[in-house]
């Protein structure tokens, strides 16, 4: 809805039109807060579904031999765990946070296109019903990995078209979400809210939306070509017909690598909001943080080849991809040093969002360092297809993306609900998560370096001990997430009243803190003044 202002004196009154009640409120929701809530709830449900798949995977890997399932089903679980976590949990969570926070942060009354916003959310339940439904059709779900490399992925049974259609729907939803964010930020900022005055979260989402818009047609095109190769006898990736299956890998990773940054850049924005608040200092080098995010986004387009070193490529290409990948460490280093400098000599306090932000800083850096190791071509030849890679990307995505999301939820939850949550429970959730995530993933570095291949349900006995440790960590990490759900439900149901500023004794920046808690159904009925 257009933001409006009358030139005559504004007379404030307490009237707010109330949302409709019942299921229709959610079915026909056009309010950015309702839609943001739906995205976040959906993402939490998918997080538990994807997590349940992970628990099954870790249960099977608890000891060598086949205990619980056949290898085909194990591969279906690994493939769908990835698809559910990436497209169902992480991306919708960030879109949900964007829906809630971007209009509040830029001073807009709502997202630019509220009906499209509703549509982009409601595509998701259908997409994931279709995806999860693939487990129940003849031939089972896709089992060739989330990367869908042909010709393996073309051997998927009857579920193949369902999978492709589900991916298309997820892509459409993501694109519509990105378009809405980009148009809202570009056209609905409050008067005086210049781009450089925007909070880091809004900035990180603007850049993420650019990435999404640039790479989603590539994903849509690549999976469509898989479909036509499968059903219409085209030969885009079929060597027998003159096609090239390796080119699918190029196309996929041209999408896939920026996708990794799509899942991490908004987390950078969240962390950049939280650390200054609980350090009671302004963000160190705020402008350089924006340039660093933009640099990382740009570099993400030219590094995709590092996923394919072992396929074979000219030495010049190997060198290019190795160097360009290592170059990402520079802007990432700028960010890590700026965050550290923000905390340096700050008056720190350790509320749950801050704890998650600090854990993000430490653990994401571990994922970054193992990424640097993987960027080295000769080393990558050794690490490729081992558990080292699994450890690396889980260190990036779980303490990176998911801890970022949890930090954001704990930061803004009182603003959304109007209640403070149980600090003790949230801190317990943090400590259990922070400890067991390392028990879960750190041993996988050792397994990978010792040569344990990924994507297998059985393994040689010398890998048993660390697999047991990893599985115990997995079960404990998974169970501790129940606390997260409990904290959220408790906070929605009631609790100590939250003030507008929420975090007393701190000085959080951003327009969202000028609104009462909970934020009213319509946020800014007159344009806020930005100084």
């Amino acid at each position: 809805m257009a933001q409006s202002h009358a030139s005559d004196a504004a007379h404030h009154d307490d009237h707010h039109d109330q949302p409709a009640t019942g299921i229709k409120r959610w079915l026909f929701a056009t309010n950015h807060k309702d839609i943001g809530t739906m995205y976040l709830v959906f993402s939490l449900i998918m997080f538990f579904i994807g997590g349940a798949m992970a628990m099954l995977i870790r249960a099977e890997l608890f000891q060598p031999g086949l205990q619980l399932m056949q290898p085909e089903f194990f591969n279906q679980l690994t493939t769908n765990h990835a698809l559910v976590m990436i497209f169902g949990a992480v991306m919708p969570a960030f879109v949900g946070l964007a829906n809630w926070m971007v209009p509040l942060q830029v001073g807009a009354p709502d997202m630019a296109l509220p009906r499209m916003n509703n549509f982009s959310f409601w595509i998701l339940p259908f997409a994931f019903t279709l995806l999860l439904g693939t487990f129940f059709v003849p031939g089972g779900a896709a089992a060739g990995g989330w990367t869908l490399y042909p010709p393996l992925s073309l051997q998927t049974g009857d579920s193949f078209p369902m999978l492709i259609f589900a991916i298309h729907m997820m892509g459409i939803s993501s694109i519509m979400g990105a378009i809405n964010v980009i148009v809202t930020i570009m056209n609905m900022r409050a008067p005086g809210m210049t781009l450089l005055k925007m909070p880091l979260f809004a900035w990180s989402w603007l850049i993420t939306a650019y990435l999404l818009i640039a790479v989603m047609p590539v994903l849509a095109g690549s999976v469509t070509m898989l479909l036509t190769d499968h059903f219409f006898k085209t030969s885009f990736f079929n060597a027998a017909g003159g096609g090239d299956p390796i080119m699918f890998e190029h196309i996929f990773w041209f999408f896939g690598h920026p996708e990794v940054y799509i899942m991490i850049l908004p987390a950078f924005g969240i962390i950049s909001e939280i650390l200054p608040t609980f350090s009671r200092k302004p963000l160190f080098g705020a402008t350089s943080m924006i340039y660093a995010i933009a640099s990382i986004a740009f570099l993400s387009f030219i590094v995709w080849g590092h996923h394919m070193f072992a396929d074979g490529m000219p030495v010049a290409a190997q060198l290019f991809y190795m160097m360009s990948t290592m170059l990402i460490a520079v802007p990432t280093g700028v960010k890590v040093f700026n965050w550290t400098a923000t905390m340096w000599r700050g008056s720190l306090s350790f509320e749950p969002p801050m704890l998650f932000a600090i854990a993000f800083l430490f653990l994401f850096s571990i994922g970054g360092f193992s990424g640097l190791m993987l960027a080295i071509v000769p080393a990558d030849f050794q690490y490729n297809q081992t558990y080292f890679v699994v450890a690396h990307f889980h260190y990036v995505l779980v303490p990176g993306a998911i801890f970022g999301i949890m930090a954001g939820v704990y930061y803004w939850l009182p603003k959304w609900t109007g209640h403070m949550y149980s600090m003790a429970l949230a801190k317990t959730h943090f400590w259990l998560s922070a400890i067991f995530i390392n028990v879960l993933f750190f041993p996988q570095h050792f397994l990978g370096l010792a040569g344990m291949p990924r994507r297998i349900p059985d393994y040689a006995v010398q890998f048993t001990d660390w697999n047991m440790v990893s599985s115990i960590g997995g079960f404990a990490f998974g169970l501790s997430q129940v606390l997260f759900a409990i904290v959220i439900v408790q906070c929605i149901r009631g609790g100590k009243k939250a003030s507008a500023k929420v975090w007393e004794g701190t000085n959080p920046t951003g327009l969202e803190w000028t609104l009462p808690s909970p934020a009213p159904y319509h946020s800014f009925s007159t344009a806020p003044e930005i100084h």
Binding site: M1, A2, Q3, S4, H5, A6, S7, D8, A9, A10, H11, D13, H15, H16, D17, A20, K24, F28, T30, P109, D110, A112, L113, M116, I175, M176, I179, N180, I182, V183, M186, N187, M188, R189, A190, P191, M193, Y210, I213, A214, V215, M216, P217, V218, A220, G221, S222, T224, M225, T228, F236, M247, I251, F254, F301, H522, S525, T526, A527
Partner: protein
């Protein structure tokens, strides 16, 4: 004595800015699409075109709202409503004494309300682009300034 009310959606993007923004994003993503077309993967271009169409339509819809403004000028005897759109300006005039302000409830539960000025069988909508909250507040103010049918309250005191 007169009261003037300007209604305008807030747009942070100028037309030129929107064109530059859209052009740059088109070019930026076209570079990648063309790269893959040159490798023989033409379906990427189709999806690129569809996506840019969606982005363009979204931007256009958002920008068009910014072109739609309304000015209400209320004098002792008259109400004039100037509605400006991309096609130009339209002026409606009502005798204040006989005009009436109506806020119609949403036709269905999740619809939007409609604020109208009515007189002698003519009905004109005001502030269709406002939020519900803004529209309700504007309705209150207009009711005070215009009064009911067969009323002309004094304009100099505003107690709303």
């Amino acid at each position: 004595m007169e009261q003037r009310i300007e209604l305008a959606p807030n747009c942070s993007l100028t037309t030129a800015g929107a064109m530059i923004f859209f052009g740059s994003i088109c070019l930026f993503s076209l570079v990648f699409a063309v790269f893959f077309v040159l490798q023989g993967f033409w379906p990427v271009l189709v999806f690129w075109a569809l996506e840019m169409l969606a982005l363009g339509a979204a931007l256009l819809a958002s920008m068009r709202r910014g072109k739609y403004t309304q000015t209400l000028l209320i004098t002792d005897s008259q109400i004039s409503l100037v509605t400006r759109t991309r096609q130009g300006a339209q002026k409606q005039e009502f005798a204040r004494h006989w005009a009436k302000v109506r806020l119609r409830s949403p036709p269905r539960r999740h619809g939007t309300s409609r604020l109208t000025i009515e007189s002698h069988g003519r009905v004109y909508e005001v502030g269709s682009f406002l939020t519900e909250e803004d529209r309700t507040r504007l309705a209150r103010r207009l009711r005070y300034l215009v009064g009911g049918m067969n009323e002309s309250p004094p304009l100099e005191i505003d107690r709303t």
